[in-house]
């Protein structure tokens, strides 16, 4: 009794409403009687192109030679070349981007794995079999995310300096884990809460063990959400600059730290700057488009579906 009653009313309901909302949306939006769709479509396309221009321009410039890149007016039709990419990957510049790229991959992937290891059980304890006062715990998690990094960075820096963890990728992994854990718990709770309670009850009546229930009932429903959570954690870690800039240096510097090397570079390297920006943004663009549908839910901490 006690295991099921608190969970049952809360979690059996959303599914039916979600279903209703889904069918309603599917049924009605097709006959949404807005007359000026063409005008809206044109306006949307114009604005979409305007917003995408910097990204498209970055990509185009990265395929231009340095002389074609830095012209006024812009040379859109200039010959395409891979020179800037060759330059970026260290053909002649001397500074290889591989160590920072590998550092970014290491810190992002490892911290994401660590986040999942910590967040999945926590989300389970907050949704499938919720602890007492689970909402309070949820809001504690959220409040840690709202604290600005600058409020904790000096002690972290001093601690790392004292124990010799400065410029050490493992320390950065721990920092990124703490940075993403609250978001991951919030997101995953909402994904686990989508597991229909009837299915859990049925599994319990059939005498399925916890592990079997996790594998056969919970995992299939929650897996897409967990994957999206992982992608979003990866993006946040990959993008992070302040912690990496303060806590790493030569050995453990990440890709964003490497990019800051271009902050004061002049027009001679414009194509190379664009190539660098493209290469370093690619993983995020892929992860972001892959997680597109769940992106809002993740970024709004699971409050909006």
């Amino acid at each position: 009794m006690s295991t099921l009653t608190p969970a049952a009313p809360r979690r059996s309901a959303p599914d039916t409403t979600a279903l209703k909302a889904g069918s309603r949306r599917r049924g009605k939006s097709r006959m949404d009687p807005t007359r000026n769709n063409t005008a809206a479509g044109l306006a949307a396309w114009l604005l979409a192109l305007l917003f995408a221009t910097p990204v498209l321009w970055m990509i185009l410039t990265s395929f231009h030679s340095e002389t074609d890149a830095a012209t006024n007016p812009p040379s859109i039709a200039a010959n395409l070349t891979l020179d800037a990419y060759g330059e970026f990957f260290g053909a002649s510049s001397g500074v290889s981007p591989w160590p920072p790229l590998i550092n970014s991959a290491t810190s992002s992937i490892l911290s994401t794995v660590l986040v999942l290891v910590l967040a999945v059980p926590a989300a389970y304890a907050l949704s499938i079999r919720p602890v007492k006062k689970w909402t309070d715990v949820m809001f504690f998690f959220l409040s840690t995310k709202m604290m600005p990094v600058v409020a904790a960075i000096l002690p972290l820096f001093l601690f790392a300096k004292t124990v010799g963890a400065l410029d050490n990728i493992w320390f950065l992994v721990l920092m990124y884990t703490s940075m993403n854990l609250p978001i991951a718990v919030w997101m995953m709770r909402s994904f686990l809460a989508e597991v229909p309670v009837e299915m859990l009850e049925a599994a319990q009546i059939d005498g399925a063990s916890l592990l079997l229930t996790l594998r056969k009932v919970i995992a299939p429903v929650a897996m897409p959400g967990i994957a999206a959570t992982a992608l979003i954690c990866f993006i946040f870690s990959w993008n992070e600059l302040l912690l990496a800039r303060v806590l790493t240096g030569v050995m453990a510097g990440t890709a964003p730290v490497f990019l800051t090397g271009f902050v004061s570079s002049q027009g001679l390297f414009l194509a190379k700057v664009c190539a660098a920006a493209v290469v370093i943004s690619l993983p995020v663009l892929f992860a972001g488009f892959a997680a597109q549908d769940k992106l809002v839910q993740g970024l709004s901490l699971g409050a909006v579906k």
Binding site: N72, P73, A152, I153, P155, L241, F262, V273, A276
Partner: protein, 322 residues
């Protein structure tokens, strides 16, 4: 069981005292439920709360790592300095301007885009994908592109386009503004609005699509004008989503470091608090002062976050109550 025993006294029946055995079993059960939660909770407390307590302590110290002999208790003098030092006061002011203008502009443009994307048109999926792209460029990379490829006064795309347009009319004296040196804060705002508008659009689009269409249709049937529907049905429904987007955006933008660092390196009055704090402890080694400024940021964030939490809570309670 727990709920049942709690209800008994209210119904007037005498509650059977739970045996010692049952109570300890219940306690064990409670711990079994809590166990999966504890690693995450303990980890977060150690890694986020503990450092902040240390920041709080350091903020009351006179501590410059270059002058170790002068270290000592400083009382509130660091806080007084944060509020009176012209640079730090300017940083507080810049942070407010930056946050408010970016949030408002990206919310408004995001709302417009969400309303457009809520309609059906050819290639909507692709248009939506293009619109999300700015949010999916690494922030430092985005800031670099703005600095070098778009805003550069001699070969940037914006001035280049102006040259091209003017040349179409046979003029070779196009206006060539230099936003980065003439209005650096506007340049930072522009790049951040570009990056954050998709975020607002996504949240508001989710809000629009959760709108109950039957009332809208009923209103249309009754002959309500589109503006009236927007004003009286759509906007009230979107209110919570607008609040949520604004508050979450504010929390992220208050903390912005990447754009300020990359575009202007904090020059010409664009240093916001995170950047100023970074400089104060990283280059000036003023640990006490930096910590006090950090605490000021937290106080500011708490004010915003209280409202944010309330909004998240109301949306969240709606979900929990369903």
């Amino acid at each position: 069981m727990t709920t049942a025993t709690a209800r008994i006294p209210r119904t007037g029946r005498s509650a059977p005292k739970p045996s010692k055995n049952a109570r300890s079993r219940e306690r064990a059960l409670a711990w079994a439920r809590r166990a999966p939660l504890l690693p995450a909770l303990i980890f977060l407390i150690i890694v986020t709360q503990l450092p902040f307590v240390v920041t709080l302590i350091i903020s009351f110290l006179n501590w410059n790592s270059l002058r170790p002999d002068e270290t000592g208790f400083a009382g509130f003098s660091n806080y007084v300095q944060v509020l009176t030092d012209p640079d730090l006061r300017q940083a507080i002011f810049t942070t407010i301007i930056l946050t408010v203008s970016v949030v408002l502009a990206s919310l408004l443009i995001g709302l417009g885009l969400a309303l457009l994307l809520d309609k059906k048109f050819i290639g909507r999926g692709l248009a939506r994908t293009l619109l999300i792209a700015p949010f999916l460029v690494v922030p430092v990379a985005a800031a670099l592109i703005w600095k070098h490829a778009l805003l550069n006064p001699t070969y940037g795309l914006i001035n280049g386009t102006l040259t091209w347009i003017w040349s179409l009319f046979g003029s070779n004296t196009p206006p060539q503004p230099d936003l980065l040196s003439q209005a650096p804060l506007a340049a930072v705002v522009l790049s951040l609005v570009w990056q954050w508008t998709p975020f607002m659009m996504l949240i508001l689009l989710a809000g629009l699509q959760s709108r109950p269409m039957d009332t809208v249709e009923a209103a249309q049937m009754d002959g309500a004008a589109p503006w009236a529907i927007f004003r009286h049905l759509t906007l009230p429904h979107l209110r919570q989503y607008l609040e949520l987007g604004g508050l979450l955006g504010a929390i992220y933008i208050v903390q912005n470091f990447d754009a300020v660092f990359t575009l202007t390196s904090g020059g010409l009055g664009t240093a916001n608090l995170p950047y100023a704090i970074y400089q104060t402890f990283y280059f000036a080694n003023e640990y006490g002062l930096a910590s006090a400024a950090g605490v000021v940021v937290v106080i500011g964030t708490i004010i915003v976050a209280t409202f944010a939490l309330r909004t998240v809570f109301s949306l969240f309670k709606k979900e929990a109550a369903r």
